[in-house]
């Protein structure tokens, strides 16, 4: 990967009225990278994108594009194009003219326009749709038109604002693969905003996890998943059991009343820490062989695995396993050193971790269409 910084955000802060949406953001994006801004609604990810696009001006801080400060450059002069949430296609123009819009404004000659629009429509699998009215297209097709309309201008950077949020699950998965392929084929830098951690993990080169207007962690998907920096990141990305613990010594952590060997070091002796154990990293053994012992309180079939909740000293662990366990049975847990991840205490400590109040329905409800809420706030 090329190491040139295409976009560099320095000390960006932004408030809407009394609400501080971005708090001293520092972030650079390398050329040709696929970067995802990931976070719950209201975390500032869309505002960050809109600052890069030029639709918002930061209160403080600077935006650099290819080394040039662009704070005061209006959107139409930026070499950046956006795929909007809910597409924002022009209803008075057909598919061809929607895609050709940017080229016509740039006064590209007609022959070239026809050629480039055709190529781009082929790229997004919409060959033959040129004369269709955008109102007659399905959500997925409208999405492709929106992508084509942005890509046809050969931007240096493509901004995507929750582009798949309005699509159903199956289509979303297909589009994820297509977007990833498009990124590789075009070599354009993609900056992608989403609240869907699974989307972020499967598509990105780099994930920027945001919460409460601050960047919580920047890293590759595996880094973010395996080495979350704090309780927020651990909770937001995938499922995690987050426990209070103490680092007794290098490579030795104590939590849930038991001392565990681990691979982490560099903490003070007896420093309080947060411990993350992913549900799929716990082995189920006979009760008498386990490092920990607990009672199964619920079992849910998930297709690929069982999801069981185990009560250990009143802390509800989530464990994903292919071994069926009877609800009510007593089982032992064994945790390998490399399954334990130790994090410094943070402002998020104690806010997440236990699955006692966990209910799938609740989880989905609270995540229902966070984009809409954010959109209202931004305007």
């Amino acid at each position: 990967m090329e190491q040139t910084k295409i976009i560099d955000l320095k000390n960006i802060s932004k408030s809407f009225g009394a609400e501080k949406v971005l708090d001293d953001i520092n972030l650079y994006i390398r050329d040709k990278e696929f970067v995802t801004l990931l976070g719950p609604s209201g975390c500032g990810k869309t505002t960050t994108l809109r600052i890069i696009g030029g639709f918002e001006t930061p209160d403080t801080g600077d935006v650099y594009f290819d080394g040039v400060k662009i704070n005061d450059v209006p959107p139409y002069k930026r070499n950046v194009n956006t795929v909007f949430q809910r597409y924002a296609l022009f209803p008075h123009l057909n598919v061809f003219e929607n895609v050709a819009f940017g080229l016509r404004v740039a006064k590209v000659n007609n022959k070239e326009i026809v050629k480039r629009v055709k190529e781009t429509l082929e790229l997004v699998n919409l060959k033959g749709f040129e004369r269709r009215s955008v109102a007659t297209l399905s959500g997925g097709q409208q999405q492709r038109v929106a992508i084509a309309r942005a890509l046809v201008n050969n931007p240096k950077v493509l901004l995507l604002d929750e582009p798949l949020a309005a699509l159903d699950l199956k289509l979303r998965k297909d589009m994820q693969n297509e977007l990833k392929a498009l990124h590789e084929r075009t070599g354009i830098t993609f900056i992608y905003v989403t609240h869907d951690q699974e989307e972020a993990l499967s598509m990105s080169d780099t994930i920027v996890v945001m919460a409460e207007g601050k960047i919580q962690q920047i890293g590759t998907p595996t880094d973010i998943y395996n080495e979350p920096k704090n309780a927020f990141v651990a909770d937001f990305i995938g499922e995690s059991n987050i426990l209070d613990g103490v680092m007794i010594d290098d490579y030795l952590a104590k939590f849930a009343g038991h001392e565990f060997k681990c691979l982490d070091r560099g903490f003070e002796k007896n420093e309080p820490v947060d411990i993350v154990v992913r549900p799929e990293d716990v082995d189920i053994v006979k009760a008498e062989d386990g490092m920990l012992k607990g009672t199964v309180t619920s079992v849910t079939f998930k297709g690929v695995h069982w999801e069981i909740i185990v009560d250990i000293q009143n802390f509800k662990w989530m464990i994903q396993t292919t071994d069926y366990c009877e609800s009510g049975s007593v089982i032992g847990l064994s945790i390998d050193p490399d399954a334990i991840h130790v994090m410094k205490k943070s402002e998020f400590s104690g806010m997440f971790g236990d699955y006692s109040s966990f209910s799938e329905e609740f989880d989905e409800l609270s995540e229902a269409d966070p984009g809409a809420a954010e959109e209202v706030r931004v305007e």
């Binding site: 209006p74 959107p75 139409y76 909007f84 809910r86 008075h92 061809f96 040129e130 305007e379």
Partner: protein
């Protein structure tokens, strides 16, 4: 098919009676008078003699056309500006725009006269300041000003309504694709508010072309528009046959122009490729 209840049928009766008495019957009378002479015999002479009024027709169309163009030029930017404001500010503007419409057109025209007349407010103010007075009433400008003043809200409101319903993201998308403010206006705002523009034009042009009191009051009696001519034929010349013929032709003219305008509105398809 579901049969309509008695009540449903009865509910429409007052309106139907009203329409027959005050819309359909008068129209039939207009047609009848237009094609008869004073003695009540069938005749084309009223229609054939209308060429005498050609100049009046032309002037009326010209005045109404100018008033409509000015209303559009003033009204569109205002509507666009309003639609981009915060909702609370939008409500204030709509109220300010509607307020004059709650007062009779006649009274508004009279008050404009009181302002602009030779001995009116404006000129007495100028005289007090030892500045030369201006003669406004009695000029073509005054008549057109009156039309613009009276009918501007009818241009702004429909345009504003269409514009305020547009997704702001469309403007952002245009800007994202390289449009500056002016280009956004012409490439996105204008084509997407076409229906509002057409209703606005219709709602200004039609009353402007048929007005008589604006030209009488602000024209100082020097301009004879179609409306004035019709009024005079009926009330002073007592020649309802000619009056009816002029009315009929004017109605047909308006119908044609409305139909033409609506043709533009229906054409919602995209631009042609290449």
């Amino acid at each position: 098919m579901k049969r309509k209840s008695f009540l449903e049928k009865a509910a429409a009766v007052p309106h139907i009676v009203w329409m027959i008495l005050f819309i359909v019957a008068p129209l039939l009378f207009v047609v009848y008078f237009a094609f008869t002479d004073a003695a009540g015999n069938f005749s084309f002479s009223n229609i054939l003699n209308l060429s005498n009024y050609g100049e009046i027709f032309l002037m009326s169309v010209l005045f109404a056309f100018l008033a409509t163009v000015i209303c559009l030029l003033l009204g569109y930017p205002l509507a666009f500006f309003m639609s981009r404001l915060k909702p609370s500010a939008q409500r204030v503007f709509v109220l300010l725009l509607m307020l004059p419409m709650w007062i009779s057109l006649l009274i508004r025209t009279y008050s404009l006269l009181a302002l602009l007349d030779n001995g009116g407010l404006l000129n007495s103010l100028l005289a007090k300041l030892n500045l030369p007075t201006v003669k406004i009433v009695g000029t073509p400008g005054a008549v057109i000003l009156g039309m613009v003043y009276d009918f501007l809200p009818y241009m702004v409101l429909p345009i504003y309504t269409t514009l305020s319903k547009l997704d702001i993201k469309l403007f952002e998308a245009a800007e994202d694709l390289g449009c500056n403010g002016v280009q956004t206006l012409f490439k996105v705002a204008l084509p997407l508010s076409k229906s509002g523009i057409i209703s606005g034009i219709t709602m200004v042009f039609v009353p402007s072309i048929s007005t008589f009191y604006i030209s009488q009051k602000l024209g100082g009696g020097r301009f004879d528009l179609i409306g004035d001519t019709i009024e005079r034929q009926f009330l002073m010349n007592n020649n309802k046959n000619v009056g009816a013929a002029i009315s009929l032709v004017m109605m047909i003219l308006i119908l044609i122009s409305v139909a033409v305008m609506n043709r533009f509105g229906d054409d919602d398809g995209g631009e042609l490729i290449v």
